[in-house]
Structure formats: structure tokens, C-alpha cells
Symmetry: C2
Subunit: 359 residues, 2 copies
Amino acid sequence: MQSSERSTHLQAHPTVSDCTERELIDRIRQRLAPPPAWLLVGIGDDAAVAEVERNRLEVLSVDALVEGVHFDRALTPPDAIGHRALAVNLSDLAAMGATPRLALLSMALPPAFPLADFDGVADGLSALAARTSTHVVGGNLTRTQGPLTIDVTVVGTVKPRRVLTRAGARPGDELYVTGFVGAARAGLDMLRSTHSTHPTHATHLPCVAQYQRPEPRLRIGSLLARNRAASACVDLSDGLADGARQIAESSGVGVTVQAGTLPIAPCAHDWFASRGCDPGEESLRGGDDYELLFTVRPRARRRLEALARHFDVPVTRIGVCTANRDALLVESPGGVSPTALPPGYGHFRPVGPGKVGGR
Amino acid sequence: MQSSERSTHLQAHPTVSDCTERELIDRIRQRLAPPPAWLLVGIGDDAAVAEVERNRLEVLSVDALVEGVHFDRALTPPDAIGHRALAVNLSDLAAMGATPRLALLSMALPPAFPLADFDGVADGLSALAARTSTHVVGGNLTRTQGPLTIDVTVVGTVKPRRVLTRAGARPGDELYVTGFVGAARAGLDMLRSTHSTHPTHATHLPCVAQYQRPEPRLRIGSLLARNRAASACVDLSDGLADGARQIAESSGVGVTVQAGTLPIAPCAHDWFASRGCDPGEESLRGGDDYELLFTVRPRARRRLEALARHFDVPVTRIGVCTANRDALLVESPGGVSPTALPPGYGHFRPVGPGKVGGR
């Protein structure tokens, strides 16, 4: 940024190519909360150095957002991209009952990526980091000839013997889900149909917000773990049907979901119905909700009910674990003619044409 | 892999698109060493869960390899890509004096990426992981419409008050480098000029090996830290000149490098000379060597000399830290007419046309 030519360019439409790696790192660093006392060496050395917490297990996860696969820049504002890049990782910690501690951020930036959008991504990520006490201790920036790619690694902690896995469910355990489902899938549909990051219909807003800025259920995950209220837990990154299958498979049980009990988000219900789709089926298959799906032993139901008064969103009982290994859907409790739960989707075998989003 | 059509395709030129994410994860998992006792939950849940080491600090780093920026698939065999993706991160741990413990692997895969190459990347990474006792505890796989992108996060440990940073050098401290420099830069040049992953000239082999499969100096970094032999340390990812500037800037000192003392790799010296280039200048600027550059207090010199008998490569004294803030190059100790150290290079302002590689 020394030549006058570059300065002129900067005032017009600056991109990340107008900055050195160090200048870009500084733009992120300026947005972060002050470093905590346990961080002995932060951004700027070969690696970060942190004191560890005594009497805690560490919980680690990495997840990537790739433009054109997990988000479309035409439909997701920069700060929502930054928010989601961290949120999808914090959701993994929530599903383990862990409390977040630190994150590392690795971004591959296309040369033409606008500097204002880079700042927006950093804003969205740092705001969620500050709000969840997640300190960004280091990272890496590189250029790429491909799409914007954001990798976030998170490390959290949990007390020994309090960790929630997918593998603890037993036959008879009841299946619960936090919040509402289907909203993120509906929100993405709405964004696509309006070709705008900000649809104007007020009825769309809750679904669009759920897609663009999912809220990781850290508080609920932590309360479930600390109080031993859940026997297994998973987050709904790939949809409710997929999550139920994950718990069933890891725990060696079957699962039966009661379609009539699904807490479908009202905005999603109206949207899917208006398009001639089955709201229940769409909500079961749709990913990106980042709610928690968990199982509860019958004798722990009262404990959960007492605990749920402290939750920030409702929880709903939607099914039960069974001794056989089937993953089934019935219309109502004790309902007849069950059908197989619809499949989730994978990244390498897309479910349909034009599929973007989902993890 | 159920339809006969797919099976036929698989037998011809299978790509990662022929597999589900889970099948690809299994291909990695099969190559890993058995999980250590401290790993309570490994690959397959929302996150990994690990016991922490008592009385240790944690050292964390993330680094990415992007095809077309850090490597060229035409010049780097798949197993070398996997090796480098982990090695560049372990080198960061070495520079902090840390011992590696675990890694998380995040890959964005182009749909046409051959399955055999995917296996090769996993082979190279897992072999280095096993050899350095680094356990891959989790990761993420996604598709991308862009280049192959590999993000690795590593976590290591170091005893309190033994960590090496860039900031500990004082005027009068002497500057040392491990091994030889210039080889990786020369190796990359050789690969480009022959357009082959396996140049046939025997004299090329040491340089090509240094570029394709750098050896992180974990043992030396750990010995320097445990014995308090070094006052500051950095790895040479972006070249020796850049590393010297990093130490000087972080420590608030100047640095003078003696050109005549540089341990230029013989294969690099011959190569650069044959091309009419100055071997010293090329070796100062060239990145990817992944040697350690460190400073030693004058009174610790004997301790270093005793320690160096246990090193697996030689160390060479190449300069000194000064009270002024200049980064200078002189021909010999006490030499006249010093010149400024050449600059390193950044990813966002490439030094020259066709620049590929370097971090």
C-alpha cells in the first residue's frame, strides 16, 4: 500500500490482494476480544501456547465451509459466512456437552475477494467468538485460485465422565430435539427463490435467520452433560433423519420417530405447504438446523423436565429407541404401517441437482 | 458402490466421487496407528475427546496446503503432498520446542481427484504421523469445485517455561541454523525444469527430496527447549532472510547474517551456480526448507555445542543479533559494506511470475 497507484485502487474496490498476509491478520486481530490470561502466546508466533484446564477433558473438532458447497456468496452476507464458519464447529462441541475455549481459523482467499467482505467475515466470526467466550488463538491465511474456503478448528473442555457421545442410547430411551426443525432448509429455499441475501417478506425472516446465523446450542449441551440428563447426543448438521440414524448406529439400537410430534418451525411449515411439499419430510431431511438431537433414559425424564426450564429454546419428545436396529417413521405413537426414515445426504453423492449447502 | 455400473467405473479410474464421506474416512482410518490410551473418543463422533497431559502447556498451530499455491500435483507425488501437509505443521511445533501429540485433518477434494491419489495423500500423512507419534484424532472431508486444499491443525505439548518463541533474542545472541539451506528451492526449480515428479539426475535427488518431503526438526527443537539452549527460534517456512527478520522484529533487535557462513546444500549450490544465480542469495530467499533458525546467548554456546552432539543434523553459526534494528547481510565476520537482507515473500503479493510453493 505504498505506491499511489495502489492507494487509488484501494479507495475504489480494494480486494485481499491489496494487502499482505500480515495486514489481513491484523484486520482480524483488531476485531478479537483481549487475550485471556491462559493464552501465553497468541497470534504472531509459529504457534499459539495455552495453559490447559485442570481436571477437564479436551474436545476437538474441525469443520470447513466451502463456497459453492456450503454457502453461496450471493445468498449469504459476509458476516453470516463468518458466523456460520464458527457456529457449525461450536455446534459439534455443544453436541458433546463441551464448553468452547479456543479456535484456530484457516482461510483460503480468492485474489478478487473484496476487502470489505473479508472484514465482514471477520466481524461475524469474532462477534460469535466473543459471545461464546471462544478465543481465536491463531490461524492461517493463504490465497487460492478456487472458492473461498474457511476451516475452523475448535477446542473445548468438559468434565471427565460428563461427555456426551452418540453411543450411549439404549432401547427404551426417548428421543428429544431442541428448538424447531426445517427452518434452515426453508430459509435456503427462500433465498434461492428470491435471489437476494435479504428477502423482503417478513414471514421469511425467521427461516432465513436460522439458515444464515444458526445458534449453537452450547448452553443446552452443557446442561445436559453436567446433569447427566442425556444418554446420547448429536447435532443436526445433516438433518434430523441423519442424526437419528447416527445415534442408532453408534449405540447399536433402532429408532422410531413419530412424524406428528416433529416441532416444525411455523415459517418452514407454511413455506413447504405453499410449495406443495410435505413439511414433515422436508424437515426430516433438511440439514443446517444445528439443533441437538438427544436421548433420555425413561427414569431421567423428570430430571430433563426440570432442567428444561433453564433452556433458552423448548425441547420436544419426538420418538423412542428400540431393540431392533430399524430406523422408522410412524405417524403417531403406536401408529401402524411405519416407513423407513428418509436418508440424509452426503457431500460426495449429492441428492439432487443444484444442491448447495448442508454438511 | 452398489450398482454394477459404479463397480465397473471403480475398476477403471475411480475418483473420490465414487465414495461416500464415510468410505473415504475409513480409508484414512485404516492407515492410522492404533488410538492411544489418552484418546477417549476418536474419529466418528461430533468431536474427538482427549485427556490432557498434566504439567504441560499446549501448543497449537494450523497450516494449509493449496494446490496451485503450495504445491503442483504434476511435481509432487500424492504421498509427498500428505507428508508435507503434516510436516509444515510439525515444523511449527518444533520451532516452539514442543512435542506433537495430535492432529486434525480437513480436506476439500475436487470431484475428479483420483481415489489412488487420495490414498497416497493418506499414506504420506499417516506414515509421518506414526513416526512422530502424532495421532490423527479427527477431521473433515468435503468436496470443492476448486483446487485440492488440505488444512492440518496440530496440538503439541511443552513444559512450562521451556517454550521457545520468536521474542527472546537479545543483542549479542548468536544466530544458528539447522541442516542446510537452499535445497528445497533448488529442488522445486529442478522439478519445474524437468516437468516430472521424479527427475532422473541423481545429483538432483537430495534437493528434490528436501522439497517434497521436508523433515520437521522436532528432536532438535525439543532438545533446545528442554535444555534452555536457545533464546528465540523460528522455522524457515518462508526462507532464512524472512526468519531472521521475524526474530529481529519480535525480539526488538537487529540481525546481521554472514553470507560466507551459510550452510548451502551442495546440490543447491551446484544447481544455482549452473543457472547463473547467486547460491547465497537464492538460499536466503528460498522458502520451504523447514530448518530451524535460533539464537543462543554467548554464555550458552558451550551448552549448545555439547547438545549438538545429539542432533541428527549439523547446526551452523551464521550471524549475530545487534542493538540497532537493522537486518543486514555481510560477506564475512566484521566484513565491510553490509547490504540489507533480501525480503521474504508473502502469499498475497507474489514475488515473481509463475510463483508456486512457499508458505
